[in-house]
């Protein structure tokens, strides 16, 4: 999307003498910069307009609404209602400034910091493990193995199944009385685990399931990256006497950096907000041991008398965390010479 508006002025002025036939006719006086930009690039604006409008409606409006609600005490009771065709109850919530935020961040019984701590732990472990597994599998599949396409298809399957379906299956598999996993362990004479009922075990279990869901994306992306590394590099390295490890460390990894940085950024954002796995597997339990920031916000918004104001504030805080993360991450990559 390189609509360059900065250079339009000189070009346009130069062309001002003899107006090209296809351009709009200009009246006397120096035209404004915006008008020039619009005039020159009207086709570009027309082309992007649908996207801009759709994003404004789908993203911008709820975002602004959410920001606004987060400064109010809106809940089920005082928000606007249209009951049938006859009864309209206008909204009666009021502005409470930033008190939702201060309650969440510094309130006496806030669980924000505990949930943030777990969300970060969860995100880091999920992304790290799924990246390592995805990378390893991609490297294995990049070789000429018999039946490679079969392996690839099978390994992409977790990605192809909708997350809620596979999460439900995992919930059955991990059931401690009747689940397949404990039956299998028992049959093999191994100790069984209380997969979803023990606080620590439940945390490990949710990470396991999410890794299972997430590694195919890493694998596919990295596999694409691997196949674009020129073979000459490896040939040259071999000539210089580099062993397999040195080749991996000095050629493969640096060549994969553009792909892997994008993959890590995207996985981090997805994992940070991975609602279905937690909600369907443990519903945040036992206690709130596996409750992420998003599922905690959901709980505020959708249980009992729903607190729209407070949960919007949670949403905005989550958004801020992710924006800050994305900006910092991008900066640090740019310092390393990456451009994307």
């Amino acid at each position: 999307m390189a609509v360059d508006t900065t250079t339009s002025q000189p070009t346009a002025t130069a062309a001002g003498g003899d107006t090209p036939a296809r351009g709009p006719r200009r009246t006397a006086g120096t035209p404004g910069r915006l008008r020039l930009a619009l005039g020159k690039h009207w086709y570009a604006w027309t082309l992007v307009a649908p996207v801009v409008i759709v994003i404004a409606v789908l993203v911008g409006y709820p975002l602004v609404q959410g920001l606004y609600l987060s400064t109010t005490d809106a809940n089920d009771k005082n928000s606007e209602k249209q009951i049938g065709d006859f009864l309209h109850i206008p909204a009666s919530y009021k502005n409470v400034g930033l008190s939702n935020y201060t309650d969440i961040l510094f309130g006496a019984h806030t669980n924000f910091w505990a949930r943030l701590g777990w969300t970060v732990t969860w995100t880091v472990s999920c992304v790290a493990v799924s990246f390592v597994i995805g990378l390893t599998l991609a490297i294995m599949l990049n070789r000429k193995v018999r039946g490679r396409s079969v392996y690839r298809t099978l390994l992409i399957l977790p990605w192809a199944v909708p997350a809620f379906v596979s999460t439900f299956s995992w919930r059955f598999i991990m059931n401690n009385d009747r689940g397949f996993l404990n039956h299998a362990l028992q049959a093999l004479g191994l100790p069984t685990f209380d997969w979803l009922n023990d606080p620590t075990m439940a945390q490990i279990s949710v990470v396991m399931v999410n890794v299972w869901l997430a590694f195919p994306f890493v694998m596919v992306a990295v596999l694409g990256g691997l196949q674009s590394i020129p073979g000459e590099l490896y040939e040259a390295a071999e000539m210089d006497g580099a062993n397999a490890w040195q080749q991996f460390w000095n050629i493969t990894l640096p060549a994969l950096r553009p792909i892997s940085s994008t993959v890590i950024l995207l996985s981090t954002i997805w994992t940070f907000n991975m609602f279905p796995v937690i909600f369907l597997l443990t519903n945040g339990g036992p206690g709130d041991e596996t409750q992420l920031l998003v599922t905690a916000a959901y709980q505020k918004a959708f249980t009992g008398l729903r607190q729209f104001g407070e949960s919007s504030a949670w949403g905005v805080l989550i958004l801020l965390i992710l924006v800050v993360f994305a900006v910092v991450y991008r900066r640090s990559l740019r310092k390393q010479g990456e451009v994307w």
């Binding site: 975002l63 009951i83 979803l196 519903n283 036992p286 206690g287």
Partner: protein
């Protein structure tokens, strides 16, 4: 791409902020729907959409059959039956009611929802309408849950309370003559069952706060005292109840799980892996249907929930029919509610599903009164512990289930769990 990253961060986090986006339809018409006190039932016409939250497999077919009878009787009224899964139904109902878009005309309202929905102005008052027919015939306890600020907003459909379900054969095998009357007896029986048969005594449902209530009442405690606006869950009785539940699990008298509690409890009880569970009449359809240990229906014993040190009691639950205040078919909806809550339909539902009727006259019918579960539950329902019928009733369970599971999984002590629940209530309700 550079710009795309920040944008994708925005989009990713957006789902959360979208959750909070309320409705903004704002056409305000004045004028009232015609209320139908003096409507002739035969002339009523319209379409009634009913959102039913009953079990889609075990119960819904019977309701659909009853609706077919209704339509045969009143051909001018078309009933649109929709089965909505109970989990999440409350949100769905509130969302539909707040905008009026695709909203149902009649809902099956859980007893605790009625005061909340009424306080939000979503329900039509039913006093003096077609819907409330022979009001004196209803049992007083279910009726109490349909009132909000003196008006009637719902008509009782079924009532329920909880009881101790036990496997008679397993009791006999272990040499136990009768169901335990107290928690101490329950522990002793469980130990005996373990010793004689190797099976676990009881399954304690660990993922639903409703299952804590009989223990709380057993110690003389309660969640809150609505009269004095006091939080009581963490008083000494409450703490004792938390300790009792934890002790049942720690001592091996009961098994539990904090995920999939319902399915685990039912399959464990039905397959004869555990000898007891605390449950309500809504479980009867499943237990009676489900072979295994209960292929012979007579094997199921039902007894009053075991008493604690401070009393004995199980919560009163149930469902009612409520009419949406914005319904375009109010008379038809009222007529439908009248029919569904009639003695005739209640008797059918009880005979087919084992649910408990809410009309005195139905209990008096000989073929209903002879049903075992009805015989037992009739007494239990009369003695059931009333819950606080306040709009905030629905907010009480979320903090409780968090602390309950935290305690059962060993993350918190009973004392901490009780205190944290109380703190959450004080914060949510603003009570002392």
């Amino acid at each position: 791409m550079r710009r795309g990253i920040a944008a994708s961060a925005l989009v990713a986090a957006l789902a959360v902020s979208m959750a909070a986006c309320g409705s903004s339809g704002s056409t305000s018409n004045n004028g009232a729907p015609a209320a139908g006190a003096s409507v002739d039932p035969a002339k009523v016409s319209g379409t009634v959409t009913w959102w039913d939250t009953s079990d889609a497999k075990a119960e819904a077919p019977t309701y659909q059959k009853v609706i077919a009878d209704f339509q045969a009787k009143y051909p001018n009224v078309k009933v649109n039956y929709v089965n909505v899964p109970f989990d999440g139904a409350q949100n769905k109902i509130k969302n539909a009611f707040s905008t009026g878009t695709d909203a149902p005309d009649v809902i099956r309202s859980e007893v605790a929802w009625t005061p909340e929905l009424a306080s939000l102005h979503y329900l039509a008052p039913l006093d003096g309408t077609l819907a409330l027919d022979k009001a004196d015939d209803f049992l007083p306890n279910p009726v109490a849950a349909t009132k909000y600020e003196g008006k009637t907003y719902a008509v009782p459909q079924v009532t329920d309370t909880m009881a101790l379900f036990y496997n008679k054969k397993m009791f006999a095998d272990a040499g136990i003559a009768k169901a335990p009357a107290t928690i101490d007896e329950l522990k002793a029986d469980a130990a005996q069952i373990k010793a004689k048969t190797g099976k676990t005594g009881m399954y304690l449902r660990g993922d639903d706060a409703y299952w804590t209530l009989s223990f709380l009442y057993g110690e003389g405690g309660d969640l809150v005292d609505a009269g004095s606006k006091t939080v009581t869950v963490d008083n000494p009785a409450g703490v004792k109840a938390f300790k009792t539940m934890k002790d049942l699990v720690d001592s091996g008298a009961a098994k539990t799980s904090v995920t999939d509690g319902w399915a685990n409890m039912m399959s464990s009880f039905q397959s004869g892996d555990t000898a007891m569970m605390i449950n309500g009449p809504w479980a009867l359809a499943t237990v009676n249907k489900g072979g295994d240990a209960f292929a012979d229906k007579a094997n199921l014993g039902i007894a009053v929930v075991p008493a604690g040190s401070g009393g004995q009691g199980a919560p009163q639950g149930g469902h009612s029919y409520a009419v949406y205040a914005g319904s375009k078919n109010v008379p038809a909806s009222e007529l439908f509610v009248q029919y569904m809550a009639s003695a005739e339909v209640q008797a059918t539902l009880t005979k087919e599903l084992g649910v408990l009727p809410t009309r005195k006259s139905v209990y008096a019918q000989p073929d209903v009164a002879s049903i075992d579960s009805v015989k037992f539950f009739k007494d239990a329902v009369d003695k059931a512990h009333q819950r606080p019928w306040i709009p905030e009733g629905g907010t009480l369970f979320a903090p409780l289930v968090t602390e309950y599971t935290a305690m059962l999984s060993g993350k918190e002590t009973p004392e901490q769990a009780a205190k944290n629940t109380g703190d959450a209530y004080r914060k949510n309700l603003g009570w002392k």
